[in-house]
């Protein structure tokens, strides 16, 4: 057995170890060491995940039988191109956020640092677990672990965040229970919990027309729809995103709802397979229309917000629409899942950068409202610069990541013959331009109204450990966009996409 094949389980186990090491070290030794343990652990995990991705692309899928029990009796970890890709993204963003969190949390909650990092590490454990597992019940357990950590982390600043966290908890518990019910329905017809095994039994047993299977599918869609804030079920999202600490907002928007999306994609395509979706074609059409409504609704409500973080939260609803549009179109275009997966990475970069920058404004000057940002472009040049880079990427300036997504999505719509969605993409781009332009205007242009104070502003930047993550993400918004377009051998992003599409039998125009 190759040592690389142990890495999927090590990614989860190391993280869990670290969580409790932080607890002991933080209470018995020193509060300062919590951050370093967390940072080093996530760095190691990130390196491991890159090895996993490399192995998956060069050799093939990793399957790992936990405890040596053969599936379908034991728990199996399966890592293919899709998992490995998501794993790398999530660990990269976690690394960036944990780096940012050092100064921010010392400033905001100095006496709860230990609990904070323990929960953060548990959050990463849960997210990694969802990603690597190939067992549907195991996936449920990990979803609950990361959700529990997320509830506590959102509430960590107290006050108004408590209400947001409790709303999220109630909604999230309903979603998770629906997921559990879906598993129960599937188990009752197949008698198995291993995803690959279930899909085989469904196919060979000709169970696609069974009502129980259809009900299970509906429960999965609704359950994960709540967790990933799909349009009509997104009501917990704006509060949770706007009152959480900055890096948790970035994680929520960039990773947590994306991992839920991953779970949905995995269940739809690995368990139910493309054949099932083709049999019930209205499902994908419905997903597309819901996504289109989410794009418009999120953008319109984002315009109505005065609070920057709340505006970004509604923008997340719109961006989930982009991802789901990609999922909905996956069977009718030659790109397959490419636009959806592409936007998962792109959205993580853009939203991560913007939420971290918004947190920087709060950290430095306690500024929440967009109107208060007058002249911020001179006071904090680097932070605002990276915010602007991410905003331009979100609007879709070539060659940024947002442009690449929109290009691929639009071409996919043309291929599918769904011209109305092209119009929707175009319209939502206009709306995005509108609401980000407002921020840019206040930051750079409307300085004069302040009068004399505008002249004597000094550069007053955030500390380096916070600035580097923001800058890195802001610059990556454009670098990754170029990488998507040119596809160099060193960063074979398109090869990953091709591997994913080949695995699910997508990307062939019918």
């Amino acid at each position: 057995m190759l040592i690389v094949e142990h890495f999927p389980v090590l990614v989860v186990a190391i993280s869990m170890f670290a969580a409790f090491t932080i607890l002991i070290a933080g209470w018995l030794l020193n509060k300062k060491c919590c951050f370093f343990i967390s940072f080093i652990t996530i760095l190691v995990q990130f390196i491991l995940s890159i090895f996993i991705l490399h192995h998956v692309l060069t050799v093939g899928t990793i399957t790992y039988w936990l405890g040596g029990w053969a599936p379908p009796w034991g728990i199996e970890y399966v890592v293919d191109a899709l998992n490995a890709y998501i794993l790398v993204i999530l660990l990269f963003l976690s690394l960036v956020c944990v780096m940012y969190s050092k100064r921010y949390e010392e400033h905001e909650i100095p006496n709860k640092i230990v609990s904070y990092y323990v929960l953060y590490q548990l959050l990463v454990t849960g997210l990694c677990g969802v990603t690597v597992t190939g067992d549907i019940f195991n996936m449920y357990v990990f979803i609950e672990i990361f959700s529990l950590a997320a509830y506590a982390l959102i509430a960590s600043h107290g006050k108004i965040a408590l209400k947001a966290s409790l709303t999220y908890l109630v909604m999230g518990a309903i979603g998770a229970c629906f997921f559990l019910l879906g598993i129960g329905f599937l188990y009752s017809v197949t008698g198995s919990l291993n995803m690959y095994d279930i899909s085989c039994i469904l196919k060979t047993g000709d169970l696609y027309t069974s009502r129980v299977v259809q009900a299970a599918f509906t429960f999965f869609i609704i359950g994960m729809g709540i967790k990933m804030a799909l349009f009509p079920l997104h009501t917990w999202l704006p509060d949770a995103h706007s009152f959480a600490p900055a890096e948790i907002s970035a994680m929520l928007s960039g990773i947590i709802i994306e991992v839920s999306t991953y779970a949905l994609i995995r269940v739809c395509l690995s368990v139910f397979t493309v054949d099932f979706l083709e049999m019930y074609f209205p499902i994908t059409t419905l997903i597309c229309w819901t996504a289109a409504m989410a794009m418009i609704y999120g953008s319109v409500l984002a315009i109505a917000q005065y609070n920057l973080k709340r505006m970004l939260a509604y923008s997340s609803v719109a961006n989930m629409g982009y991802i789901m549009l990609g999922v909905g179109l996956c069977m009718s275009s030659s790109f397959g899942l490419t636009p959806a997966l592409m936007h998962i990475l792109n959205h993580a970069l853009m939203k991560g950068c913007m939420f971290l920058a918004a947190g920087a404004f709060i950290y430095k000057f306690d500024l929440w409202e967009i109107e208060d940002f007058r002249g911020l472009g001179r006071k904090m040049p680097y932070t605002t610069l990276s915010f602007i880079l991410a905003a331009l990427a979100m609007i879709g300036m070539p060659p940024s990541v947002g442009f690449v997504t929109k290009l691929y999505l639009a071409v996919a719509c043309f291929q599918a013959g769904q011209f109305v969605f092209v119009a929707v993409i175009f319209f939502s781009t206009l709306l995005i331009l509108f609401y980000f332009w407002r921020v840019i205007e206040y930051m750079y242009i409307r300085v004069e109204e302040e009068g004399a104070t505008a002249k004597e502003v000094k550069v007053d930047e955030i500390p380096w450990s916070m600035l580097i993550p923001v800058l890195v993400l802001g610059i990556l918004c454009f670098v990754v966009g170029v990488l998507w377009l040119v596809n160099t051998p060193a960063f074979p992003l398109m090869d990953i996409m091709d591997a994913v599409n080949a695995e699910f039998g997508l990307g062939v125009v019918p």
Binding site: M1, I3, H6, V9, L10, A13, M16, F17, F20, T21, L23, I24, W27, L28, Y64, W65, L66, G67, G68, N111, K112, V114, S115, V118, L119, L122, V141, E144, I145, L148, A149, A152, A155
Partner: protein
Amino acid sequence: MPSKDTDTGTGKGGSIIVETVTRLMVPFIQLFALYVIIHGAGGPGGGFQGGVIFASSFVLYVIAFGIVKAGNRFSERANIVLFSTGVYIYAGVGLLCILFSYGAAQFLNYGYIPLTHHFEENRALGMDLVEIGIGITVMAVITSIFFNLVWKREEVGEREGED
């Protein structure tokens, strides 16, 4: 560390009957909890249930003697060490399997830990070890949650446990 002005109202101490019965019952409850933990592999029960029963003995103690007196006997630090120890046992056993077989066996494949000479016996012993680890963690976590919920302190960090 214990705050005198708890609003739980249980600090007065109850009747002598309740206190004496509690004193008598607590060791038996704990013994039963240990029985449940050890017999988890072959019958109903296991680490989680045993841990909860063990923790419930502390809950009973709090109900009978009041939070202040119980709180003096309850060490936050010892509790933290305990519930980390449990996780270390659980995950450590899993990692030892990989180490002892030089990477040939999977995580949690207990058969490869050289406790005895039989593969199956190793597996049973490994399972017991894991149950004990889970039991310790659950006991500490449930006690900790209960104390944090019932006891108003300066800062209450909400903490949850999964085993």
